[in-house]
């Protein structure tokens, strides 16, 4: 995976978040504050606007630029959470010109690590972590079996989707949905959904690698 693939990945995310702005905001209405789609779209539109200066950057700098841009533009909890995730993901692949399968898994691990360090959420609390944790496990398992980047990212995206769907019956313990207590049950977590979108885009971009 090269720095040009990273731009392709980010471009897919920006497209998908734009297309799913209303969907994510709708998910956020019954258990949050109806802004997740708008906020994520604002953040990745700002990332998209920086592409002209980003194409020449190395991978680590690209990911760190995404991190600082999201922190500066998204707001809400998602800004610091995804911002820290991309910043850490960048640090994890410092000075790499091209990412190998194990680099990609290291990047995902750092991405999840950034979110848990900032948000202190654990699996089962109805958050982004519920999509990202099974994704990381699946990616690691594939890597251990010597799978290709395409298979690793595809399995990670599939596990994230399952994890996202598993948030539906969960009782929210973190974030604004936790105020609803048992009334948060039955709704899919918007943060887990945006995390799945990012991993699905990664798998799409890596499908031929």
């Amino acid at each position: 995976m090269t720095n040009q693939d990273i731009i392709r990945w980010l471009d897919r995310i920006a497209d998908e978040l734009r297309a799913n702005t209303h969907y994510l905001t709708q998910l956020d209405s019954p258990i949050g504050d109806a802004d997740h789609g708008t906020n994520m779209n604002r953040g990745f539109s700002a990332v998209h606007a920086k592409f002209p200066t980003m194409t020449a950057m190395d991978i680590a700098t690209q990911l760190q630029t995404v991190g600082t841009t999201l922190v500066s533009t998204v707001g809400g909890a998602s800004g610091p959470l995804y911002g820290t995730a991309f910043l850490r993901a960048g640090s994890a692949v410092a000075s790499k010109q091209e990412l190998t399968a194990s680099d990609i898994v290291a990047m995902l691990e750092a991405f999840l690590g950034g979110i848990t360090a900032r948000g202190k959420a654990q699996v089962g609390e109805k958050t982004m972590v519920d999509a990202l944790t099974p994704a990381l496990h699946a990616a690691r398992q594939e890597l251990d079996q010597g799978a290709s980047i395409a298979d690793i990212t595809a399995k990670a995206a599939a596990a994230a989707e399952e994890g996202m769907k598993a948030t539906i019956p969960m009782l929210a313990i973190k974030g604004r949905a936790s105020y609803l207590a048992e009334r948060s049950i039955g709704h899919q977590d918007p943060g887990a959904t945006s995390s799945w979108i990012m991993l699905r885009c990664l798998a799409e971009v890596c499908a031929d690698q």
């Binding site: 802004d35 708008t38 809400g76 610091p80 009334r183």
Partner: protein
């Protein structure tokens, strides 16, 4: 959606521009940094008082910038926490070399963004104290929630702490008073209708004609319980009882009673709630010695109200009474 707006994406900016034009004697609005700053900031040797949060709660927080209350406010998008860049710009703008107090309502987004801003400001060599308000008794304060939300007490705290800061008190003392005020106050709210976030275009939840939500927050989120609509007296009882119990208010104690409108409820109804509240407290021999009634921490056009009770002592009362001159609160000068 029917709203007095130009473009959905311009709501916050257009409103801030109007505010800056209307209150140029008290504050300046920096549209580029998205901050509202007291006109003569930074006041040298005075602790800077800064708050911020999502927009949609007007007059909080921008309406409290001026003399004797906030030095700066950082408005985010509607119901969305502002970003660290705004908080850092505001912190720098109000740093009079005596440190800056960040007043944060307990919501995950606000806490995380302010945390990052404080880390950045400290790299700049600015001394920061952070106080998180969490007065909403509708939320169980347990490991199974994000903790109690910051609501009505925030307004009272900004006024009281702003009064102390104006005397030139040091940062530690200002922060200590802020923590005391937070621990002395509790709130609970209810909604008769939902509200519509402009960017979402539709109400955040459905509530039929004969229903109400008890235990709502200020972001259009549903509450803890949905009940059949009741009388103002019954609703006041439902809101006041858990507050009185949680504060363990005793006969003979003195309180500030704050009846707040959520944005879409007329003052005539808020006074009906105040009348009930006064009867309940009088019946328990708890004395209301200060009050505040009106729309001060709102949730767009939501109809409904919240009640906040603040246990008073001499220090808190003194700085509540201290002069204040802001767009939304002014007395004593």
């Amino acid at each position: 959606m029917k709203k007095l707006i130009n473009k959905v994406e311009d709501v916050v900016n257009d409103s801030l521009a109007g505010m800056g034009a209307a209150h140029a004697n008290l504050l300046r609005v920096d549209l580029e940094s998205q901050i509202v700053v007291r006109k003569n900031a930074p006041v040298q040797s005075k602790v800077g008082i800064l708050s911020g949060g999502g927009s949609g709660h007007e007059p909080m927080h921008g309406g409290y910038v001026g003399i004797g209350m906030l030095d700066a406010a950082c408005p985010g998008a509607i119901f969305t926490s502002p970003v660290p860049d705004q908080m850092l710009a505001a912190t720098r703008a109000v740093n009079g070399q005596a440190g800056v107090l960040h007043i944060i309502k307990n919501y995950t987004g606000d806490v995380l963004n302010f945390e990052m801003a404080a880390e950045l400001a400290e790299l700049d060599g600015i001394k920061i104290e952070s106080v998180v308000t969490n007065d909403d008794v509708a939320v169980q304060d347990s490991l199974y929630t994000a903790g109690r939300r910051g609501v009505g007490v925030t307004v009272l705290l900004e006024k009281i702490v702003g009064g102390l800061a104006e005397t030139g008190a040091p940062l530690e003392q200002v922060a200590a008073l802020a923590r005391k005020v937070n621990s002395h106050g509790r709130s609970m709210g209810m909604a008769l209708t939902a509200c519509t976030v402009p960017a979402a275009g539709e109400p955040t939840f459905d509530l039929s004609e004969d229903e109400m939500e008890i235990g709502i927050g200020i972001h259009g989120e549903p509450g803890r319980r949905r009940l059949k609509l009741a009388s103002a007296a019954q609703i006041t009882e439902m809101l006041a009882t858990p507050i009185i119990e949680d504060l363990e208010l005793k006969a003979g104690e003195q309180v500030l009673a704050f009846v707040n409108g959520m944005g879409g409820t007329p003052l005539i109804e808020l006074y009906i709630i105040y009348d009930s509240l006064n009867r309940i407290l009088t019946g328990k021999n708890i004395k209301i010695v200060r009050n505040l009634i009106g729309n001060y921490i709102t949730s767009l056009e939501m109809a409904g109200c919240s009640i906040t009770l603040l246990r008073l002592d001499d220090e808190i009362t003194r700085y509540w009474d201290a002069p204040v001159y802001t767009p939304a609160l002014r007395w004593g000068m």
